[in-house]
Amino acid sequence: MVHHRPPADESRSTPELSPIPTAAQAARIAPASTPPELLRNFCIIAHIDHGKSTLADRMLQLTGVVEQRDMRAQYLDRMDIERERGITIKSQAVRMPWAVADDPALDGDPKAPVTPYALNMIDTPGHVDFTYEVSRSLAACEGAVLLVDAAQGIEAQTLANLYLAMENDLAIIPVLNKIDLPAAQPEKYAEEIAGLVGGDPADVLKVSGKTGAGVEALLDLIVRTVPAPVGDPDAPARAMIFDSVYDTYRGVVTYVRVVDGDLNPRERIAMMSTRATHELLEIGVSAPEPTPTKGLGVGEVGYLITGVKDVRQSKVGDTVTNSAKPAAEALGGYHDPRPMVFSGLYPIDGSDYPVLRDALDKLKLNDAALNYEPETSVALGFGFRVGFLGLLHLEIVRERLEREFDLELISTAPNVVYTVTLEDGTEVVVTNPSEFPGGKIKAVREPVVRSTILAPSEFIGAIMELCQQRRGDLLGMDYLSPERVEMRYTLPLAEIVFDFFDQLKSRTRGYASFDYEPTGDQVADLVKVDILLQGEQVDAFSAVVHKDQAYSYGVMMAGKLKDLIPRQQFEVPIQAAVGARVIARETVRAIRKDVLAKCYGGDISRKRKLLEKQKEGKKRMKTIGRVEVPPNAFIAALSSDSGGGKDAKDAKKK
């Protein structure tokens, strides 16, 4: 059957033949009046580049909701960054009609009675940094398509999300994608997946998002496998927010899944976490363009517009209710996004500071997880300490700041949050290593994560070695197949934000995949290493590291700065110190010669221009004590080995 055709109508001779519902059928699944049993809410769990967006594109075409001529690649990915990097940062939902024969045995029979369904596809974010958002997206669904690249097999992130979906009792539909690729090994990976989700490898559906092969069968399977939503239509309204997006023209667009009751236009709604109330200016469904409806009933997925301007007023995970007839209890699972990784962001040109401030204020409208406060660095000037969900989040924010606001930024090495208990019992929360308290410290706690690493079994030794170096504890290990192994480690988050992923990649020739989730914190023997230039602390280079790594960090950073700091008119000692104890020392020797030997008639213009250039350069110098340091020296020292963001790029390349 070929279904690349516009939505059918009564004039067509064999309307029943099309899985695209007829107008009469469509009336049965109109938003706000679709019985829950005709609804199917599902998401797609997939690794970056395993073809989720392409599969979604095919579904949009097959169900006729996007006309052929309007189709563009990765239709649902709205941000340029998303489309370029091939990842979805923000989730959203799209409603698609699909008719299925009541008796599967009669599939393809034009005379078979069919029933129309409304499918809500909730596009989940694909990265570990957004685990919380993923969990809320999953909570809005009854089923999940587990999409795996038939040439690569399952990846650690996918596995993590799969476990999350299984914990949420979602119906899992295992699917192998890209079966059109010459390198595809569908049989091998079908076995792997079947082993993970239970069931027969033969039941793993094989599709190609690119050619469309198998996609109709998948849509049919979704209708038949995913349970219909269940809720109390007469109870006070409760809808869960699974995404919240700022739109320049419309303000915040809130995506919800209605659990109980219904939401209707023009009524006042209340956010249960804050008790704030808003008037519902518009309510509708994405099909996939926003389409206002008469409301949303039990099990339905759609959007709300209230005119608020900041996503913080419409938080993911929160419960929306009717303010006149509020529900007694909110839906479970809500928590405020908590930044896990911090970094100082500084404009390279100090005069860009106000631009950076305005840009962060703007991004914040659309990013509830972004938080920041002004910070001053001796080395880098005025900037912000910014909290992120993780490294990818950091990289995306930085890239958006640079691209959308034309800013040139330098970021300090990412660090985690430490809780320091002093001898007197006072607790200090440290988000910037240079603020790590001196003096008597009783204990330092650092966040730890539970990580999953998937890799060919030949790399077990290399991975164990790396994880041990990074203070990891092996929790367990399982073979997914004779060649592939899943290793679970508890690791300090701080060890991951510092080039862990790069190291893992290089030690496994790029074959390992990695995922983690925060699991609390632990007491650790941590110290702060300061870097001093001629006795002055260079704040941007202070680092909190494990006691055993203090020396190597100190030697590395002092050596690096020695090569980057130009010789001055006096000797400049560079020291690494833990408290008052110097653990490493380098010296930039005093410059002895800085003069042009020959300066005659024909040399004067050139020489003057050189001095003018040096004069300009001198103005841009950062001064630490008496030491003049070109700003790019600090940048160079911070850029290499910082680990920040490189993970995300590598992940994309895989």
């Binding site: 002895r592 003069v595 001095l611």
Partner: protein
Amino acid sequence: MSPALPDGEAAPADGSLPRGLAGPRTSAFGVYLHVPFCSVRCGYCDFNTYTAAELGGGANQVAYASTALREIALAGRVMREAGLPGRVASTVFVGGGTPTMLPAGDLVRMLDGVRDTWGLAPDAEVTTEANPDSVTPASLAELAAGGFTRVSFGMQSAVPHVLATLERTHDPARVPDVVRWARDAGLAVSLDLIYGTPGESLDDWRTSLDTVLETGVDHVSAYALVVEPGTKMAAQVRRGEITLPDGDDQAAKYELADEVLTAAGLGWYEVSNWARTPAHACRHNLAYWRGDDWWGVGPGAHSYLGAPAGRADDGAGPDGAGPDGAGPDGAGPDVGAGVRFWNVKHPRRYAAALEQGLSPAAGREVLDDDAAHLERVMLGVRLRQGLDLAVLDPAGRRAVAGLVASGLLDGRAAVAGRALLTLRGRLLADAVVRELVTG
């Protein structure tokens, strides 16, 4: 001559000068004559010079003096037309290249051209550069008879392996002879040295200095080797065939030179120049550092003409296009604080322009007050007499104390109102200038 010409505006084809040059001035006037020929090009040399082979025959060399005379005549005319007061040349300096590649008669003929056009002061200093292997007692006598008073020999080193690395072809044993011949001819003599050549030891350098002192010359110039991009030596360094000594090595050699020369009675009067008495200093070069006017004749040569005395301080903007600004050619730009211009580099293009009666100038820059100030500080501070602190702006004057404290400026001189470099300060003169102009 530097390898690359500076960026600037195009110079007018007729050689006309900017408005505002007319008026009295206190500065002296000097003439530089460039001779762009060498028998071989040395590996480190980035000067504007050509071997016979590079020019495709010796014809240009034969015609060169006549071509230069055309520029001298053009220079005299455009200076007159700009309203500059008639000044005789106080100094003439013939440089290269190797001026003595030309017959002494040609050099004398060029000097005659200077005399005919501007006149020559009775006590004029007239110098030519020379290679030790391109002079004879007779040629030196001919130069002296023609009005030359001084010769500067490119000795560079007394050590054969250093000369070989520099690709200098002369026999070092000849140097004492040529010095004697020149003195016998009545010429003052200077020797040029280069230090910091790859492979040169501190002892090698001491040998060169001792050899210089044995000749008893009254003037020495010593330059740290600079490997300019585009030279053969730069390529050798890039390929790793030779390793350049670092700044520390050059600093040590400079300190040794200053110690040895001072002990022998030769005092420094500029960062790279030493003379037995102030009277033995090169007056032509002093004129550059003092901001006097000069006209540079020859391919790639630079010229500089300052605004009349007091003009720059009158606040005359660089673009005083007012009704009073109309000079002989009222459409041109104002001279600002001064104008510098430079000729096309290649001898063929240079000759072609003059043959068509056009100016060989390729570009020029009009200096504004800031640029003139920077040049004044940058050049003045190089001198033994130091820079008058009154020249500095308030921020620059405030920087003096710190520079004295850092041991870069002489404290007693500072109290007496002059910025005078210490030995360490001479080695860090550029850093001192940056402090003095940025405060």
